[in-house]
């Protein structure tokens, strides 16, 4: 008789420890992100949030613990990130400002660059994010909210199974944040798992299924947005009394 074990979660982080020289950045961090689930990683500045992203992408080597993506070990180097089904955006966007929007979005498809199929796929993503008319403009000429959407399009064009978003709402006004929340909802409902780092608390509470809170490299709380918002330790370390977004 055989038993069927449940499929592994899209992302499983177990006892992750990372140190830079003598500085411990992450210490025993564990959490999961399921298929189609949106998980927000929040916490004070310097808590280690971006370092978690870097460990998932293979940019930093953990000194303890493991990162598994769909049951397989995380990429050992960042060059294997796309093959592992992972895409990410950066806090600083990292767009090639003099290249067109379309060219930026084609960068991760470099093996297929120039091919009609790649261009079609890139244009479809641009269309989905309301950027079709900007496709042939230099990325640097666009207003900030549109540049952020170009960065998102570049991450989506590889059709990732796991999407990492670093401060997607940062610097956006309320109307753009509402539109972004809708886009993330669509991405998640298509089955893609989303892990996001964000300081805009109302946005996090709106889009996240679960919230993981880091402080000094350790998980201090994990739960639904409502549970985390009411947590005294989270309030003391991160939110502050009566804090607005």
């Amino acid at each position: 008789m055989t038993t069927t074990s449940p499929p592994p979660p899209r992302l499983r982080i177990d006892g992750l420890g990372v140190a830079f020289g003598g500085l411990t950045v992450l210490d025993g961090v564990s959490f999961t992100v399921g298929d189609g689930e949106t998980v927000a990683l929040i916490g004070p500045n310097g808590a280690g949030k971006t370092t978690v992203f870097n460990a998932v992408c293979g940019l930093v080597r953990p000194r303890a613990g493991s990162v598994r993506i769909g049951g397989a070990p995380a990429p050992a180097s960042a060059t294997r990130m796309l093959a592992a089904g992972v895409s990410r955006t950066l806090q600083g966007l990292g767009l090639f400002e003099r290249m067109t929007v379309l060219e930026n979005v084609l960068v991760p498809l470099s093996g297929e660059r120039g091919g009609a199929a790649a261009a079609d796929r890139a244009r479809a993503v641009l269309d989905r994010l309301g950027l079709a008319r900007a496709a042939d403009r230099p990325a640097g000429a666009l207003p900030y909210p549109e540049r952020k959407r170009v960065a998102l399009a570049r991450a989506l064009v590889t059709e990732p199974a796991l999407l990492l978003l670093d401060e997607p709402a940062g610097g956006l006004g309320d109307a753009d944040i509402a539109a972004l929340a809708a886009v993330i909802g669509e991405i998640a409902s298509s089955g893609c798992s989303v892990l996001l780092v964000e300081h805009h608390v109302d946005f996090v509470m709106d889009v996240a299924d679960r919230v993981v809170v880091l402080d000094f490299g350790r998980v201090i709380a994990c739960g639904t947005p409502g549970e985390v918002r009411g947590d005294a330790a989270v309030e003391a370390a991160y939110l502050g009394l009566g804090a607005a977004s």
């Binding site: 500045n45 940062g170 956006l172």
Partner: protein, 238 residues
């Protein structure tokens, strides 16, 4: 400490259309004015023109009645103007402590400099834990904190801030806004604060000025803008 006056200011990039066009604005001594508006409205360009990093095509910038318009950026800083640009302003090869001391170099001598730096460690606690760490080892949010602290260390007369809350944890944003409000009340620091965090900015501001396509479309007491949903909707879209 100082009143900042902007008279019919026009500025832009290269040969392009003006980004800010014939703008008049006064930020009185000790006032906190929130500069609001959609992305692309011209907030950053206005702040750059005030510090002289974008050339002025027409109009004047005055500090306590003295014309700054033809002056280089460093001379404007000597006269008490400081800008914290969006997401930049840290020398990554230097430590946190060295960056802070650098911020106060032109405006302080010991022991005032040491006291000003110590005050920043109280305000931005994460920096106190990292005082000997080089800038390149800081997280994105810590770098933004350091840039802000570096500007505050110089104890400017007029502080121009471009989206200081970007990338900062809510607790730090609340503390920063509180310090800006208290410093303005206590020392007469004049503050012009460009923000997407409208609620936060209006909570400490005396006035809210709304920019659209490079022109001021509303200039109201902050309390009115914060409390009146119709006004907010008309000018800020929510």
């Amino acid at each position: 400490m100082s009143t900042l006056t902007v008279e019919r200011l026009t500025t832009g990039y290269g040969d392009g259309a003006p980004v800010v066009d014939g703008l008049d604005l006064e930020v009185p001594d000790g006032a906190v004015v929130a500069l609001l508006g959609a992305n692309g409205a011209g907030k950053t360009t206005l702040l750059r023109a005030l510090t002289g990093t974008v050339p002025t095509r027409g109009g004047r910038v005055l500090l306590d009645g003295a014309d700054l318009t033809g002056l280089r950026t460093e001379e404007r800083v000597r006269r008490g103007l400081a800008l914290v640009p969006e997401g930049r302003g840290v020398v990554v090869e230097l430590t946190v402590e060295e960056n802070l001391r650098l911020g106060g170099l032109w405006r302080h001598r010991e022991p005032a400099l040491r006291a000003a730096v110590a005050e920043m460690y109280e305000l931005f606690e994460p920096l106190a834990h990292r005082r000997d760490a080089p800038g390149h080892t800081l997280s994105g949010g810590e770098r933004r904190m350091l840039a802000l602290a570096g500007a505050l260390v110089s104890r400017p007369d007029v502080l121009l801030l471009d989206e200081p809350s970007l990338g900062l944890a809510p607790l730090v944003v609340a503390r920063l806004l509180g310090v800006l409000r208290d410093t303005a009340a206590r020392t007469g620091l004049t503050v012009l604060l460009a923000e997407q965090n409208v609620t936060g900015a209006l909570s400490i501001a005396d006035r809210g000025v709304v920019l659209s396509l490079g022109a001021i479309v509303a200039d109201r007491p902050a309390r009115e803008l914060a409390a009146d949903p119709a006004l907010r909707h008309a000018y800020l879209g929510f």
